[in-house]
Amino acid sequence: MSTVNERIDGIVGEFAELEPRERLELLLEFAQKLAPLAERYRAERDAGLNRVHECQTPVFLWVENDGGGVKIIADVAPEAPTVKGFVSILADLYHGAEAAEVVAAPADIVQRLGLTESLGMVRMRGLQAISQYIRRRVAESIAS
C-alpha cells in the first residue's frame, strides 16, 4: 500500500498538471465521489453531534481508528461542494493509513493543490481549518 506521503505527492501532481479552471472541475469530481453518509451515522448527525462548529456550512466528521487504520467519514451539505471536494480528497489520502503517519504527513496540502488563485485567502483559510481539524482528531485517536 502506498504511503500517505506518496499519495499526497500523487494528488498534488494530478492537480499541478491542470489549468486553474480544470482544477476546480477535478475538485467537483471529488465532491461528487464522497460516499453518502452510512445509515449508522445518521442519528448522530441528526442530533447535531460531530458537527464541525467552526464551519459555517454544515460539516459532520467522524474519525475512526480501530485496527484497520484511519477512516474518515464525512457528511457535507450539498450546497458546499468546495468543502465537500476537499474533505473527499483528505478522506482518500488518509484512508487505511496509520494515524501516526497521517499526523506526521505535511500539513500544507491545501496550498499545494494550486487552488489559491481560484479560491482566494478567505476560502483557503476555511479549508486549512478543516484540514487541521481532521489532523487533530486523528492525533486524538492515537491518544484514546
Binding site: 476546480l24 472541475e25 475538485l27 467537483l28 465532491a31 467552526e54 459555517q56 456550512t57 450539498p78 450546497e79 458546499a80 461542494p81 468546495t82 468543502v83 471536494g85 488563485e117 481560484s118 479560491l119 482566494g120 478567505v122 476560502r123 483559510r125 486549512q128 481549518a129 487541521q132 481539524y133 487533530r136
Partner: protein, 305 residues
C-alpha cells in the same frame, strides 16, 4: 409601520426570474460563496461572477477598478441599460456583495432575486448544468466609484467618535469577542476580538425568513428602527468581517427600508481588528433598547487606545 418595501422593484421573485431569465435586456448573475456551486446547476441563462476572482483586485485589498469592472460587464454581455438580477447561495450574501459593487460603479438597474438559490431549489425549479453562456460583448462604460455607499476606515473612525450609528451584523459571539477560536485557525482573521465601540449588534440573519426570503417590511422596521433604534435620516454604517454579510444588511436598510444614507464598511473586522490603536469594545455593548440614548450621547470614551 410600512406595508410595502421602500423600493419594491429592486426585489424580484423566483417567478419573475423564471419568466424573464432569457430576455435580452435581462442578465441573471449568480454570485456564490462556494466557487463550485454554479457548475453544479444554475438558473438557466445565468452567468457567474465570483466575488474573489472577478470582483476583487488580486494584489491590493480592494475592488477591481472601473476599467476592469467595465471589461467584466462587457465579457458577461451586460450593457449600461441591462437589468441585472443577482442571486446566490447563503441567503444572497455574495449576491448582495456583487449588487453593491455594481452600484459602486453606477449600474442603474440592479435587482435581487428574493430567496436566492435556496428559494429556487425549494420551488422545485430547473437547474441548468450547461456551461456558462457566452453573450456578445458590449461597450460598457463604468462610472466613478460612488463613495456614498462605501465607508473607509478613517471615516468609520470619525463616525464612531461622533457617536453615530454603526450596525455590526456578525453573530453575537463575534460581536462580544468571546467566540472561541480553534487551534491554528484564528477564525476572525483578526488579532483582536470585539466590536467597534457604540455599534449595535443586529445579526444579518435576523432579516431573513427560513426560506431565504426577506422578512416583511413591518418586521424589518420593527427590528432596525424599533429594536436597534436606528434613525431613518441618520447616516448609518454597516460592517461584518469582510464586508459580505454587511452588504446584505446595507441592501435591507437602503432598498427595503429606504434609509437614505447607508454605507458598507467593506474593510470590516478583518481591517478594524488588525489595526493598531483603534478603539475596540468587548462584551455585549449597549443594550439595543438603550441605543437611541447612546446615539445622542457625547463622544464615547475610547476603550483601548
Amino acid at each position: 409601520m410600512p406595508k410595502e418595501y421602500a423600493h419594491p422593484e429592486v426585489l424580484v421573485s423566483t417567478d419573475w426570474v423564471a419568466e424573464h431569465h432569457a430576455d435580452p435586456n435581462v442578465r441573471v448573475v449568480e454570485s456564490d460563496e462556494d466557487v463550485l456551486l454554479y457548475q453544479m446547476g444554475h438558473v438557466p441563462s445565468a452567468v457567474k461572477i465570483d466575488w474573489h476572482t472577478d470582483l476583487q483586485d488580486q494584489v491590493v485589498r480592494d475592488y477591481i477598478d472601473k476599467q476592469r469592472f467595465a471589461a467584466l460587464c462587457s465579457s458577461k454581455g451586460i450593457s449600461n441599460d441591462t437589468t441585472v438580477v443577482f442571486y446566490g447561495d447563503k441567503n444572497n450574501w455574495w449576491a448582495c456583495y456583487a449588487f453593491w459593487v455594481f452600484k459602486l460603479y453606477g449600474h442603474k438597474d440592479c435587482r435581487l432575486m428574493n430567496g436566492g438559490r435556496k428559494r429556487w431549489e425549494a420551488d422545485g425549479r430547473e437547474w441548468s448544468r450547461e456551461p456558462e453562456p457566452n453573450y456578445p460583448r458590449t461597450n460598457y462604460v463604468a462610472g466613478d466609484p460612488d463613495l456614498s455607499i462605501r465607508a473607509f476606515q478613517s471615516e468609520v473612525l470619525k463616525h464612531q467618535k461622533q457617536g453615530r450609528p454603526l450596525v455590526d451584523v456578525r453573530s453575537p459571539g463575534e460581536f462580544t469577542g468571546e467566540l472561541l477560536h480553534m487551534a491554528d485557525y484564528p477564525q476572525e482573521g483578526a488579532l483582536r476580538g470585539g466590536h467597534i465601540p457604540g455599534a449595535c449588534n443586529v445579526p444579518w440573519s435576523r432579516s431573513v425568513n427560513e426560506d431565504g426570503t426577506f422578512k416583511s417590511p413591518k418586521e424589518l422596521e420593527k427590528l432596525y428602527a424599533g429594536e436597534a433604534g436606528l434613525k431613518r435620516r441618520a447616516p448609518v454604517i454597516a460592517y461584518c468581517r469582510i464586508g459580505e454579510r454587511s452588504s446584505h444588511t446595507w441592501f435591507v436598510l437602503q432598498y427595503l427600508l429606504g434609509f437614505p444614507k447607508v454605507k458598507n464598511y467593506d474593510g470590516s473586522w478583518t481591517e478594524w481588528g488588525n489595526t493598531v490603536g483603534v478603539p475596540i469594545e468587548k462584551g455585549p455593548g449597549p443594550k439595543t433598547t438603550d441605543l437611541a440614548v447612546s446615539n445622542s450621547a457625547p463622544v464615547p470614551a475610547e476603550s483601548t487606545s
